[in-house]
């Protein structure tokens, strides 16, 4: 039963009209980084149909981006281990400023604006000690204000919880050092976790998986409006095992792990790339570029629903009706009902993540 008050509140929250500041940038619905036909790496603003509304060159291959809640401002991260993040004025198509990780740190590929748009947070690796750090930046001047512990090693994705006061951080658990590229230095002793911290860095809660799953690196996150967190994992253990790559967690509760039947799960090569809830929050999906698959689950029952074969699928986000996905082969498509529908095909190779700018709820 939806009361009139809830209905109105829903209307207010829904961004039926494009968000003010973003209108100046052509009112894009999504951000995605990609390799363009002229061999340049760019950050693009995409419409809900997949049309490219703007694109801005990046200095190197991108990974993920963060969209400011109201201003047409995005921060695009280099693929890890990157030492820069680029703040882009999407209306002017210009680079406003480049954030540098301080000496001894590098960025880890993801960041997020606070709900009120005044702060920006980025995941970092303090690599000599292998500590995960979260840096805090002023979202107007992009001055570095400080940093605090991420609560673990190898923080990757990070989101703001619906209360606007809490960050949820995926500490993947894997230690790397820029001198050895992406070589994983601590697999036998890795212990990933999901950490909930206040915006000032106070640790509120930490979730660890059972020890048998300590090699399941928690990397990417999705948060539902009621605070339910979906987390996608990458298995670093024996590749003849096929553990779940998706979990759901609610603060104060035990995690629930979701898996497809063995016949599907074994195709995935232990690797999930992105995770997202559908707009109505009833389903959650992961993309699996190594298994060329998208798996969809029912949130309430935690049951596997269906698997779709999509080559090099990785970007994923909520869409007007269900989910939107992008692939490394240039597809932009929607998954609402029984089958994925390709909406646009471009000559771009879309990178790992698709970042929704607004809510379709």
């Amino acid at each position: 039963m939806t009361s009139r008050r809830q209905f109105l509140a829903g209307l207010a929250a829904a961004s039926i009209a494009p968000i003010r500041g973003w209108a100046a940038a052509g009112a894009p619905d999504y951000l995605a980084a990609g390799l363009f036909p002229d061999e340049s790496f760019r950050l693009a603003g995409l419409s809900v149909e997949g049309d490219i509304l703007f694109d801005v060159p990046l200095p190197a291959r991108g990974h993920a981006a963060a969209a400011h809640p109201t201003e047409s401002l995005a921060v695009a991260f280099a693929r890890r281990p990157g030492t820069f993040a680029v703040v882009i004025d999407c209306a002017g198509g210009t680079e406003r400023i480049r954030l540098q990780a301080p000496e001894g740190h590098h960025f880890y590929g993801h960041g997020v604006f606070s709900a009120d748009g005044t702060r920006f947070f980025a995941t970092e690796n303090k690599y000599e000690t292998g500590e995960g750090r979260i840096s805090v930046w002023d979202a107007k001047t992009f001055e570095r204000l400080g940093e605090f512990s991420s609560g673990g090693i190898g923080p990757h994705d990070m989101r703001v919880m619906p209360d606007g006061q809490t960050l949820v951080i995926a500490n993947g658990g894997i230690e790397t050092h820029p001198e050895t590229g992406r070589t994983k230095l601590n697999l036998p002793v890795m212990r990933p976790n999901l950490s909930y911290v206040s915006l000032k860095g106070g640790l509120l809660e930490q979730m660890e998986l059972p020890s048998a799953l300590h090699k399941n690196s928690i990397r990417h996150l999705a948060v539902r409006g009621d605070g339910l967190v979906g987390f996608a994992m990458q298995w670093q253990g024996n590749q003849t095992e096929h553990p779940p790559l998706l979990g759901l967690h609610r603060m104060g509760r035990d995690p629930v792990l979701l898996s497809a039947p063995a016949a599907n799960q074994r195709h995935l090569q232990g690797y999930a790339g992105s995770v997202a809830f559908s707009t109505d929050g009833a389903t959650i999906a992961i993309t699996c570029p190594r298994g060329n698959a998208l798996h969809r689950f029912d949130v309430q029952s935690a049951n596997f629903e269906d698997a779709f074969a999509l080559q090099d699928v990785c970007g994923l986000g909520a869409g007007p009706d269900g989910l939107i996905f992008t692939t490394g082969t240039g597809l932009f498509g929607a998954l609402s009902q029984a089958e994925p529908k390709v909406l646009t095909r471009s000559d771009c190779q879309w990178d790992n993540h698709l970042i929704p700018i607004r809510s379709f709820a």
Binding site: L35, H63, R79, R80, G109, G130, H156, E175, H177, E179, T180, G181, R182, T183, L185, N186, L187, P188, V189, R219, G237, N238, Q239, T240, Y271, G273, P289, R290, N292, A309, L310, Q311, D312, V313, C314, T327, G328, T329, L331, E339, P340, K341, V342, R345, Q349, W350, D351, N352
Partner: protein
């Protein structure tokens, strides 16, 4: 209709044509994998027997047995899947890199507490993985910091326990590889590899990650940066085996590459040339512990060696990989 067809066309990467790869799979399994684990089990048995006879850290017999057994492990260590991965056996053999110094901590703790786990192989296998294997034994045999810690009797018992554990681990791997071998040579629908392509892909992955480890970690860690070289981060530098490991791993992966590419003689030839160049480069360097990373001339030669290994990796990725149906997707290769 149009869109469905489009999706169908994009579903899976090109798979190699239906060709019988049985001879390749049998050759790799019987002539590359199994002999390495047999050799390892034999060498660790000698190590264990020697340690039980003579546990003095400076014993020449013990150090020689240690060296032979470690050689055998390095020559097999790229085969890090199936029985090698089970129960973290590969890490129990070689806990490296040890960025947080867990190995000396684990050993000091055993010594300080006179941990009775050394009396039983089963009990020792349950202790910290960082205190097991060849790097733990290296500390006990070559690190002056451990030459005086605790009592001589306990140090002896610890050396014997680590040696016995290495031997038991190698025996378990060798036995399991015998039963696992048919999974590779005769893939089946409900086995770990369902098709010959999947089995070949596992072997290719072993080849490419083995070379990656040698280039990025065995050489990359001590190289550090020009301004900040890290000679003390070289693998097994205490026993002056760092460069030797690079050469052993190249010789071993050259053998695997030759067998894996046997169906494509022109690729075999390209790989052979590149491997020989890298191995010659390694043999021409007279710097067993890779200490030369810290001086410009020594560093130049070690960087050239690293580059020659990256050249092999490039040939493997661009020439051999595609013949084995290895997907080269933009995101699937990114790994993040």
């Amino acid at each position: 209709m149009h869109k469905l067809a489009l999706i169908a066309a994009l579903v899976f990467p090109l798979s190699s044509a239906a060709q019988d790869h049985t001879p390749t799979l049998i050759d790799v399994t019987e002539n590359h994998i199994l002999p390495r684990f047999t050799t390892l089990a034999e060498a660790t048995e000698v190590l264990n027997a020697t340690a039980q006879e003579d546990c003095a850290s400076e014993s020449q017999d013990l150090r020689a047995a240690y060296s032979t057994a470690f050689d055998a492990w390095i020559s097999a260590s790229h085969l890090r899947f199936g029985p090698t991965e089970t129960d973290d056996r590969a890490f129990a053999m070689a806990f490296w890199p040890d960025t947080k110094g867990f190995t000396p901590k684990a050993l000091s703790k055993h010594i300080a507490l006179e941990d009775s786990a050394v009396a039983s192989p089963d009990a020792y296998a349950e202790t910290s993985i960082a205190g097991r294997g060849f790097f733990a034994l290296e500390r006990m045999l070559y690190d002056p910091e451990f030459a005086q810690q605790g009592s001589a009797a306990y140090r002896c018992a610890l050396i014997q326990a680590i040696s016995a554990d290495i031997d038991a681990n190698a025996d378990a791997m060798a036995a399991d590889w015998q039963t696992y071998a048919p999974e590779l040579t005769q893939p089946r629908a409900d086995g770990p590899y369902r098709t010959q392509d999947e089995a070949l892909q596992e072997l290719f992955k072993a080849l490419s990650t083995g070379m990656q480890f040698t280039s990025e970690t065995r050489l990359g860690r001590p190289l550090g940066t020009f301004d900040r070289p890290r000679p003390k981060r070289a693998e097994a530098h205490r026993s002056e085996r760092s460069l030797r490991h690079v050469e052993l791993s190249l010789v071993s992966t050259r053998d695997l590459a030759a067998r894996l590419s046997a169906e494509h003689p022109e690729i075999t030839a390209d790989l052979e040339t590149a491997f020989n160049r890298a191995i010659e480069s390694a043999r021409s360097i007279d710097d067993p512990a890779l200490a030369g990373v810290a001086d410009p001339q020594g560093r130049f030669r070690i960087e050239a060696l690293q580059q020659s290994i990256n050249d092999i990796r490039q040939i493997a990725a661009t020439e051999l990989g595609p013949t084995l149906g290895i997907s080269a997707g933009f995101n699937s290769l990114d790994g993040d």
